[in-house]
């Protein structure tokens, strides 16, 4: 299972590296969305870092939706499903691999957007750095949940519009936990309690994905 996961993750990341969609389309979109959030708040409020954690995760959710769609489209290209079926790859390994690749992509975007939060929304650098572990776990949970909901929305009519409807209610608790732990890292408070919720969600979604991915992909 681990070997399959690493193979699939390497394949997805290689495709991303060659197509440069993450670099030239997703990252600029994320930075632009963060700037627009600052503009929407206005020059006075954008100077206060209180709203920064929520805005950071909101932008990350939008970026995650783009990346999940992209990850699903890769699998939807002609012949891919047939190849996976012929190779007899373990569905649990495929799920883990896709979630791992998505996690790496979200981490990279997260680092850039955290820099953007320091620059545009004036979050403290030390607080932002101390939020890194909780951000990493929350984004990994987003990737695991997103991979599961991504496969569910694929194959039918309007998958790109169906994905947000299916996944955003599931992302809401992660948004709350992530925002709370980031705020606690910046302004003090119960950082570890919220971090733990993200960790539990990550483990739960990984377990559910390993169990159910095969059922969803089965045809």
């Amino acid at each position: 299972m681990i070997r399959v996961a690493l193979l699939v993750a390497a394949k997805d990341l290689r495709i991303e590296r060659r197509s440069r969609v993450l670099l030239w389309q997703v990252l600029p979109f994320g930075v632009m969305a963060l700037v627009l959030c600052g503009l929407a708040l206005g020059p006075v409020q954008a100077g206060h870092s209180n709203a920064a954690p929520g805005l950071f995760y909101l932008v990350m959710l939008l970026v995650a939706l783009l990346m999940i769609n992209r990850s699903r489209v890769i699998e939807g290209s002609p012949g891919t499903r047939a190849s996976v079926a012929t190779l007899g790859l373990d569905p649990a390994g495929v799920f883990l691999g896709k979630a791992l690749a998505l996690t790496v992509e979200l981490w990279l975007t997260g680092v850039v957007l955290l820099g953007g939060a320091v620059l545009f929304l004036h979050t403290q650098l030390s607080g932002t750095v101390s939020a890194l572990p909780s951000v990493a776990v929350t984004l990994a949970a987003l990737a695991a949940a997103g991979t599961l909901y991504g496969v569910m929305s694929g194959g039918g009519q309007g998958p790109a519009t169906l994905l947000p409807v299916l996944s955003l209610p599931a992302f809401a608790p992660l948004l709350i936990a992530g925002e709370r732990s980031f705020s606690a890292a910046l302004h003090g408070g119960a950082l570890w309690q919220w971090w733990l919720i993200s960790l539990v969600a990550l483990v739960a979604y990984l377990a559910l994905g390993i169990l159910l991915y095969g059922v969803l992909e089965e045809s």
């Binding site: 569910m152 194959g155 009519q157 998958p159 559910l208």
Partner: protein, 240 residues
């Protein structure tokens, strides 16, 4: 015969119990000392929430699990899950509306970012997502399988809603009927009215579920029939 009788009686019994709930709730029970007549919403809101969150989503989850389990896999389970979620949308909406009507005079706002309110609204969006997922897939088997998985994932939210008032400091009150050590908090005619309302809305759910299920069976039959008719017509045209 017994089955037919119980099916025939379901509707009238539900209507009688609903009428009793409204009669007791509006005229027989006294108004609250502090909240006045607003307290009468307690005979509707908890019962509607019970059906929307626990009965309907519980039914959908059990039917979905039974669908995914190979031994019990059948279109019947898929239809039950679908119909239960559809009815749950109505009851979750009623829960939020009645809660909002009570919240305005009590809390001063129609909506508060409270853990229970928010998690209930999220469950409502999950239910709408379930229905959207069903409409997006034409292949009946794939649709049933994906919907079943989605319903199970959505059901994780139900215990979160239930325990939200204990886990977080919420504006929404805690247990209303029983305390944590199972002591009854409501007595007399108010307790009886509440009990009748729970029975009435639970029976209403099963009545609606049954009606919706029959409609779904007829819809599937019509689909099969139209498919057969189309095939026959094509054969007549000489297309093989």
């Amino acid at each position: 015969m017994t089955k037919q009788l119980s099916q025939r009686l379901l509707g009238p019994v539900t209507l009688v119990l609903l009428a009793l709930t409204f009669w007791f709730g509006l005229w027989v029970t006294p108004p609250d000392q502090i909240q006045g007549n607003w307290a009468r919403l307690v005979y509707v809101h908890p019962a509607v929430a019970w059906v929307g969150l626990y009965v309907s989503f519980g039914t959908a989850t059990v039917a979905s699990v039974l669908y995914l389990w190979r031994r019990t896999r059948s279109p019947v389970m898929d239809r039950i899950a679908h119909c239960a979620v559809e009815v749950s949308v109505v009851f979750i909406a009623l829960t939020l509306i009645t809660g909002s009507i009570w919240g305005r005079p009590t809390w001063g706002v129609w909506w508060a970012w409270d853990a229970r309110l928010t998690s209930t609204a999220i469950l409502g969006v999950f239910a709408l997502g379930y229905l959207a997922l069903r409409r997006a897939n034409d292949d009946p088997e794939l649709r049933a399988r994906r919907s079943a998985v989605f319903a199970i994932l959505a059901a994780i939210n139900v215990p979160i809603i239930h325990f939200s008032v204990q886990w977080w400091k919420t504006l929404h009150q805690g247990a209303t009927v029983f305390t944590a050590n199972r002591t009854l908090l409501i007595h007399g005619i108010q307790a009886w009215t509440l009990l009748i309302s729970f029975f009435a809305f639970t029976l209403l759910f099963f009545w609606l579920l049954r009606a919706r299920y029959r409609l779904e069976v007829l819809r599937d039959a019509r689909y099969e029939l139209s498919l057969d008719e189309a095939l026959t017509q094509r054969r007549r045209e000489g297309v093989r």
